[in-house]
């Protein structure tokens, strides 16, 4: 670039200062000169995909789902308050989310994954008739078979008549079914074969239900919930239910007579309204019952719809369904305007806040599945930084010892050039917004090795030229000149590898590739230009025949 030593020196100093300024600017803006990877500062890395475990979605639908999800997640995470989150589509069907320095991965995960699909449905107060329940039972027996129901423990009915009497006065239909089922088993035991003819009398499903405390609800003992869910979710369970009816679980557990129960609501299947009309949602503590609540507000169109509907259905029960679970089902006493309330039972206020947040940001139209999740606790990250720093310092001291010990003055010059090299790499990373990861530190150390190698090549060459009897200045020029081809070829091949790594790698490997690439370019500049400048400075005022320390 410049022929004169002074010009070269100024170039080196200016470039070094530019790099330092870049580091300072980053430090001023973000509190850290270089962006640290999640593995160093702690945080969470998620890869999400549209949950298509049933295989029913077309590629277009999955892509549309991911696009919508990206929008929604962006809003949600912005409100969640993470500094510099990364939300990025990867390919056409995946989203990568990176949240640095979060302390509660559990909460972050909920906020990202919750569908937040809000529906308003009417409770069918007539519930299911005896015939309708029997139909479900029959369908289940036919499709599952007596044997697999037996494996589930659902071919017989344990007599719970006593509890039933305490709770509901024993006046419901299931109590009668209990004794029938018990009888049939007794018979089956003595004859040692469950006769086909008896199968229709089995009540695998309805025997799990107790009459609920409100119209259109049943109670299911907590220990039976898993079985009931399984039966309900089965194809025969779904298809045998009356048209326009859906059975949905309540979100809270009720205790009665020392046992825990969960409510099962009988709802009109079609929702008359969904959360898309929501305008605002805010969490609050309800002072009256000391529980967390979320107040929501509809927009104008939603408000009109809501008030018309509630006006027509005074006296009915309105179920507020969130992601398939009934949050509450209050009775409609009067026409309700443009707002409503979700009760959170015993949940902490923080959970209500998160719910309000995801409701405001909008629902995910398709559920997301976590394909990959990596979290690093902040203390582990800090340990890595500390140890990485120590290793870096020890490594530098070793290099310094070897170079100065072997090459004396020339070695010292190369160390100064290496220091500038490190500043350039750091500055380059800061300028490009690259992230320093743990493998990145390793890449950095490796590129230091490459930079050292370039210097060694040059010095060895100069020594050879001196040994061949050339004058000092000529030997230096020849040394730099002859070493060039080896340095170029070595750097280019390593650069090829680094670029391929960048292309195919993800996350940490990419960090390694970026650091290595920047490192190689900087090492090339440092060896060819910076070291040479210092050499020229060192040679100034020396005669052509004066010895040099190399």
């Amino acid at each position: 670039m410049f022929k004169s030593v002074r010009g070269r020196l100024i170039t080196v100093v200016v470039i070094a200062f530019a790099a330092m300024w870049q580091l300072y600017a980053n430090y001023r803006d973000t509190g850290s000169p270089i962006k640290l990877g999640l593995d160093l500062q702690g945080g969470m890395h998620l890869v999400l995909e549209v949950d298509d475990s049933l295989g029913t979605l077309t590629p277009e639908a999955r892509e549309a789902g991911i696009d919508q999800a990206e929008q929604v997640l962006r809003t949600r995470i912005d409100e969640f308050g993470v500094e510099e989150p990364l939300i990025q589509k990867s390919g056409s069907e995946r989203i990568i989310v990176e949240l640095a320095g979060i302390s509660d991965p559990e909460r972050a995960r909920d906020i990202i994954q919750q569908a937040a699909f809000l529906e308003f449905k009417l409770v069918d107060v007539s519930a299911l008739s005896e015939q309708e329940l029997a139909r479900v039972d029959r369908a289940l027996v036919t499709s599952f078979g007596v044997d697999s129901l037996a494996a589930l423990g659902r071919d017989v009915e344990a007599p719970t008549g006593d509890l039933e009497n305490i709770l509901f006065g024993g006046a419901d239909t299931t109590a009668a079914a209990d004794s029938m089922a018990a009888d049939s088993t007794a018979a089956g035991d003595t004859e040692a074969e469950p006769a086909e003819a008896e199968a229709p009398n089995l009540r695998p499903f309805s025997s799990l239900l107790r009459m609920g405390d409100a119209p259109g609800t049943y109670l299911v003992a907590e220990e039976d919930v898993a079985t009931a869910r399984l039966l309900l979710a089965s194809e025969s369970g779904q298809s045998s239910l009356p048209r326009n009816i859906s059975l949905q679980w309540g979100n809270e557990v009720d205790a009665a007579a020392g046992r825990n129960y969960r409510r099962l609501y009988v709802l009109v299947e079609e929702a008359f309204m969904t959360g898309e009309y929501l305008e605002d949602a805010q969490a609050q503590r309800d002072p009256q019952f000391n529980q967390a609540i979320v107040n929501f507000q509809f927009n104008r169109a939603g408000g009109r719809l809501f008030s018309r509907f509630t006006g027509q259905n005074v006296g009915e029960y309105l179920a507020i369904v969130l992601d398939g679970e009934v949050m509450s089902a209050p009775v409609i006493r009067d026409r309700i305007g443009a707002s409503g309330q979700i009760e959170m039972a015993g949940a902490p206020l923080e959970e209500a806040r998160d719910l309000a947040l995801v409701l405001r940001a909008g629902a995910l139209t398709t559920p997301l599945r976590i394909m990959e999740e990596r979290t690093v606790g902040p203390s582990l990250g800090q340990d890595s930084i500390d140890q990485g720093e120590i290793a870096g310092i020890v490594g530098m001291i070793l290099v310094l010892g070897i170079m100065v010990g072997y090459y004396r003055m020339a070695g010292f010059l190369s160390i100064v050039a290496l220091t500038i090299y490190l500043i350039l790499v750091m500055g380059g990373m800061a300028g490009m917004g690259a992230t320093l990861t743990l493998p990145g530190i390793a890449g950095l150390i490796l590129s230091v090795g490459m930079a050292v190698d370039a210097n060694v090549l040059i010095f060895e060459r100069i020594r050879e030229e001196l040994a061949a009897g050339r004058a000092t200045r000529t030997a230096v020029d020849e040394g730099f000149g002859h070493a060039l081809s080896a340095i170029v070829d070595a750097n280019v091949t390593t650069l090829i590898t680094a670029l391929i790594l960048f292309q195919f790698g993800t996350g940490p490997v990419r960090g390694f590739a970026v650091t290595l690439s920047i490192g190689i370019v900087a090492s090339f500049f440092s060896a060819i230009y910076v070291t040479r400048t210092f050499f020229l400075l060192y040679l100034q005022g020396k005669k052509a025949s004066d010895p040099i320390s190399i």
């Binding site: 290099v399 390793a442 280019v492």
Partner: protein, 320 residues
């Protein structure tokens, strides 16, 4: 101070000894891979990055041993528990079922530990949960990356040097990768993403070393009267001339890597080990594999270089 100032070793003469050493190392490695297929069902000990699965690192606030943690997680039939570098730090590895939610495993491990040791007595310091689909994709990508870098460097070297130099360099690099993979299989080092980065770095380093020697051979071959000199002697001289540089650079790089291994973060210990091994093998192969390969290729295929030089001479003569 000068190391190997007037070294005059006859490396090429001793190449048969080197072949035997290399062959033994490769055979041992291949044997280890085969033993692994029989014993652990896979030729390498793939980590969760590749197989899909879960890794949960737990730090306990009080002293625990592996047995306690293992019992809490279901004993022999439960997930694999190993002690990690630090005190009271454990790594738990469990497979992930196809279709199952990735975070279900973590939740279950956390729940079981809470039941056994009480909430707040431990802290989860790291989790890696990778779905099987992503893992399989990664295996393909890594293989493709290595092959792709082979092809590109071969092309580059064929252009910058001659085809036989490129071939010799690729032979040496394949030799290095084979021995490294054998070592990984022998000690069942976990293959994670950084390990792949390490293998690719070895590719780069080994090429770097080989290129420096080849560069000198190329230069000596271009000198006046080089054609009268015996090829073996010329290559030997080139290796000897670059010997100080080879030793010094390898030594410096090794010093840095050993520092990284001894005082660096535990998470990249495997990474550093693989790199140290790679530097040693790479240095060895640039002298004892790449250079003899040049001689062997020439013996079998004749001196393609001569013809090329003759062609260049004619071209020059024509242009003048």
């Amino acid at each position: 101070m000068r190391l190997f100032a007037n070294a005059n070793y006859t490396f090429i003469d001793k190449r048969r000894t080197a072949y035997v050493i290399s062959a033994i190392a490769i055979v041992v490695g291949l044997g280890a891979m085969m033993a692994n297929i029989a014993l652990i069902g896979s030729w390498q000990n793939y980590g969760v990055d590749f197989t899909g699965g879960s890794l949960v690192q737990v730090h306990f606030n009080s002293e625990r041993d592996v047995g306690e943690v293992r019992d809490a997680l279901g004993g022999v039939s439960g997930p694999e528990v190993t002690r990690f570098a630090g005190e009271n730090e454990f790594v738990i590895r469990a497979p992930l079922d196809e279709g199952a939610s990735v975070d279900a495993v973590r939740t279950s491990i956390e729940g079981q530990l809470q039941a056994a040791f009480g909430a707040g007595s431990f802290e989860i310091s790291r989790t890696e949960l990778v779905g099987p689909k992503i893992g399989a994709e990664l295996q393909q990508k890594a293989l493709f990356a290595i092959l792709f870098s082979f092809v590109l460097t071969l092309i580059y070297l064929a252009i910058r040097f001659e085809l036989r130099f490129g071939m010799a360099a690729v032979i040496a690099t394949m030799h290095d990768i084979l021995i490294t993979l054998g070592f990984l299989a022998l000690f069942r080092v976990e293959i994670a993403l950084p390990t792949v980065a390490a293998i690719l770095t070895i590719v780069g380093y080994s090429l770097n070393d080989t290129i420096v020697v080849f560069d000198r051979i190329r230069e000596n071959m271009g000198k006046k009267g080089a054609r009268k000199v015996d090829q073996v002697e010329l290559i030997d001289r080139s290796i000897n001339e670059t010997l100080p540089r080879t030793v010094l650079t390898s030594g410096t790089t090794l010093a840095v890597l050993v520092a990284l291994l001894l005082v660096g973060p535990a998470v990249i210990r495997d990474f550093s080990t693989v790199l140290i091994l790679g530097v040693l093998i790479g240095t060895y192969s640039s002298i004892f594999v790449a250079s003899p390969a040049l001689v062997e290729i020439r013996k079998r295929m004749g001196d393609g270089g001569d013809r090329e030089r003759a062609r260049k001479r004619r071209a020059r003569a024509a242009s003048v």
